[in-house]
Amino acid sequence: MSAEAAADTKTTYNAPSSVGQLGGRALVAGVVALVLCVVGAFVNPAGFWRAYLVGYVFWTGVSVGSLAIIMLHHLSGGGWGVVIRRPLEAAARTLPVMAILFLPIAFAVFTHRLYPWTVPEEADLEIIKHKAIYLNIPFFLGRTVFYFAMWFMLSYFLSKWSLAQDSADDPRERRRLKDRLQNLSGPGILLFGLTVTFAAVDWVMSLEPEWFSTIYGLLIMVGWGLTSLAFAIVTTVVISKDERLAHVYQPRHFHDHGKLLLAFVMLWAYFSFSQFLIIWSGNLPEEIPWYMRRLFGGWGYVAVALVIGHFALPFVLLLSRERKRRARSLVVVALLVLMMRVVDLFWTIAPSVLAMPHHGGGADAAHGGGGMADVVAYVLNFITPIAIGGFWLWWYARELASRPLLPLGDQGLEDALADANGHH
């Protein structure tokens, strides 16, 4: 690629103005939703906390999952990754927002509102006492700080070296940066696995501190990977509406994204079913209540919805080669997956919070007790993730616009952009 051409492409691949507008709108939506949330939190605190945790884990998942997919791409290469690398990097750089948004959760921990092990009476139970070395407030917060530190570190270097590649004119320099990215990604994936596992234990699993499952970390990892992949697909489809970029995103890229999405959907179903079958078969008193809470009553319908919407439907839809190659139909599946991710997290998190004894009001609300609180709880379930998402998207749009939408220094770019005629 000649220097002029490079200079030309640099401007060509800047984010379209629509991205900025989108960010602005997202911020407005976020602020409005936040105000409503704060109001709702006074009416039904329990409803607020569980909705907040759902939204928080979902959006953190987009950021952190993006890290994993970037690293996966660095390790394996391939055109599919080249074209979504920048959106993924932008998503990973929203981590500061998520770090700030963790403060309400820290507040809930300090005020014993979310996690039973923070409640003194609960913590006196033999089974929880045993875990006190691990499940205590300072260590919990310390770990969270550590997770974010690690994620920042990964996101910082992955973005920095990626940007450096753009301006590096010397192929040897580019090659060195590529090696560096690759060398970071190997241990980085390892670090990702460990931090996400313990984050999953801390943030979600410890909602029911007597319950445990060894596959849980993997389940959350796959969920987050799936979320960010689906999100990246949505992003590419949105930005490919810009005519300057239309030729970049070709059916074969979407085909690969679709295949990867299918793989993630299957992996999620595989992990979820394995966990369910093993616990169902063992039928042990310390394990099975977790599923009892989530399979009977109204939650059973949510579970069925997950089986259909989170697995069966995307699976069948993604089997078709044509549907994977058409951006418009692929984005529908991706949006469905994103929606079901929220539902999955809701199904995972909310029953635990409802089971918490100290949320008398919340539990009542969920069981159809107080009319007003009840309605508020339902509304909160929708608007809290939107509130968090508004801020997240706003920041994401800024980050996305700050750099070219394609990694101009990537050696695979030429191949990725090549018109693959006669190729399928």
Binding site: G79, W80, E210, T214, Q411, A416
Partner: protein, 464 residues
């Protein structure tokens, strides 16, 4: 990391030191070289020596089985509370080894990884033979293998059917499906090569035999199209099948309530372990094979390097599994889980097995982070050997150390394998190599027609 998810043209051959096939080859040279391995009358002396050794070991197996079925499985060391021991260890070990074959073939085909071409045939054969060895163990453990057909649902005079809630029954279906699909997948891949051999063979008997196996394949364009479609679909089916098989093997343990077995991470952890052991075995076999048969052109360093990376990745997943098991055993606050953990790694009489497991399976393979280690066939060979031992030890730890201390202290006992445990295990290794040697002697160990497709100039040039 694991695999290269990319398009063939994205393959950065110009910067990759080792291509998937050395330059200078043509369709004719590839065909002649590979088919000569089979059709050339002179069999290397090393083959005869290898065959003699492995066939002798296979006979040890035959005699052990003969003694076993006439006497009973009491000749094994299994006894309460260790009711499952070498038989299941070896079963899981072999079936795990079998996984890499289908995986290389199927997943890498789906991911359009060209480097699979030169090792897939060989790996598939390895799968089949490993599954055959694996199948022997549960079959013989039933005590009355001649009644094995009772495990299939057929209209019998007892009006009774298998118990479908049992993971052991899932195993029957999984392993038999796996064996038949793998065998057919392998055979379908061989059909065009049988045609090649049929057309090359000089000996009339060989012509007839290969001709029958080729089913009259003539390379028609329409046939090729359907063939490719079927092959791709089979690969798509085989991939989840492979994962399901070891998942179900893991259910054999995880579905129970025994501490040390009942862990939700077992499915992915077993699958990763299977791929780990499988790739180790692939390297263990291909490194000498390419040397003796001069196949360095086809099985290049790149294959070995990629296999090493996959081993590293799956090995780390296995390590993650150990870590999560240990962490959750503590986190669960369950008395039994806690005891299991302590007994397994520290206070129990089998602590050495766990320590050895960590060394062989986790610590030593970390050498594969080093690029230099990945490029050294000797190191790769040794590491693969160590991993094979390590993965065997893993099953030993899971099975024997979990069982020898069960819920009732009065029934605690140690496990001691008898000579027949060992002779069966070693015998299956003999059987495996016997079959493998027969395979490389009589069938093309490298897919000839697929090698032709990856040659430069294989694709027709488009005008304009």
């Amino acid at each position: 990391m694991a695999s290269r998810v990319d398009e063939p043209h994205d393959d950065l051959i110009h910067v990759t030191p080792n291509p998937v096939i050395e330059p200078g080859h043509t369709a004719a040279s590839v065909t002649d070289k590979i088919s000569a391995l089979v059709l050339k009358r002179k069999t290397p002396l090393a083959w005869y020596i290898g065959f003699f050794i492995s066939f002798s070991l296979a006979n040890v197996l035959m005699f052990t089985i003969a003694y076993l079925v006439t006497t009973g499985i009491g000749i094994w060391g299994n006894n309460w509370p260790v009711g499952w021991a070498f038989d299941i260890i070896n079963f899981v070990w072999w079936i795990g080894i079998g996984h890499a074959g289908t995986l290389i073939s199927a997943i890498l085909l789906l991911l359009r990884q060209e480097w699979r071409t030169s090792i897939n045939r060989f790996a598939e054969a390895m799968t089949l033979f490993a599954v055959a060895c694996a199948g022997l163990f549960p079959l013989l453990h039933t005590g009355r293998p001649w009644l094995a057909y009772w495990m299939l649902p057929y209209p019998n005079t007892m009006n009774i059917y298998p118990q479908f809630r049992s993971p052991l029954m899932w195993d029957v279906f999984a392993v038999s499906t796996y064996a038949s699909v793998s065998a057919l997948f392998w055979y379908v891949g061989l059909i065009p090569d049988f045609a090649t051999l049929r057309d090359r063979a000089k000996n009339r008997a060989f012509k007839v035999v290969y001709g029958m196996l080729a089913l009259g394949w003539r390379g028609s364009a329409r046939h090729w199209h359907r063939y490719e479609t079927a092959y791709l679909l089979l690969a798509g089916l085989a991939t989840p099948l492979v994962l399901s098989v070891h998942t179900i093997v893991s259910f054999d343990f995880a579905v129970s309530q025994l501490p040390g077995w009942h862990a939700t991470i077992f499915p992915p952890y077993f699958v990763a372990g299977a791929i780990y052991a499988g790739f180790a075995m692939v390297l263990l076999l291909t490194i000498p094979l390419r040397k003796f048969y001069g196949l360095e052109d086809f099985i290049t360093l790149r294959h070995l390097r990629n296999s090493a990376k996959i081993m590293l990745a799956t090995g780390l997943i296995v390590g993650y599994g150990y870590m999560m098991e240990a962490f959750m055993a503590w986190y669960s606050a369950s008395e039994y889980e806690g005891f299991m953990l302590k007994n397994r790694i520290w206070t129990g009489p089998y602590w050495w097995a766990y320590a050895l497991l960590l060394i062989t399976n986790i610590i030593i393979p970390q050498i594969l982070w080093s690029k230099r280690a990945r490029h050294n066939t000797a190191i790769l060979f040794i590491v693969s050997l160590i991993i094979s031992v390590g993965m065997w030890l893993e099953r030993f730890v899971i099975i024997v150390t979990s069982l020898h201390r069960d819920f009732l202290p009065s029934s605690w006992a140690m496990y001691r394998p008898t000579i027949f445990d060992w002779s069966m295990f070693i015998g299956t290794i003999g059987l495996f190599f016997t079959l493998l040697l027969l395979f490389i002697r009589f069938l093309p160990a490298i897919s000839i027609f697929e090698m032709r497709t990856i040659l430069p100039g294989a694709a027709p040039k488009e005008e304009g």
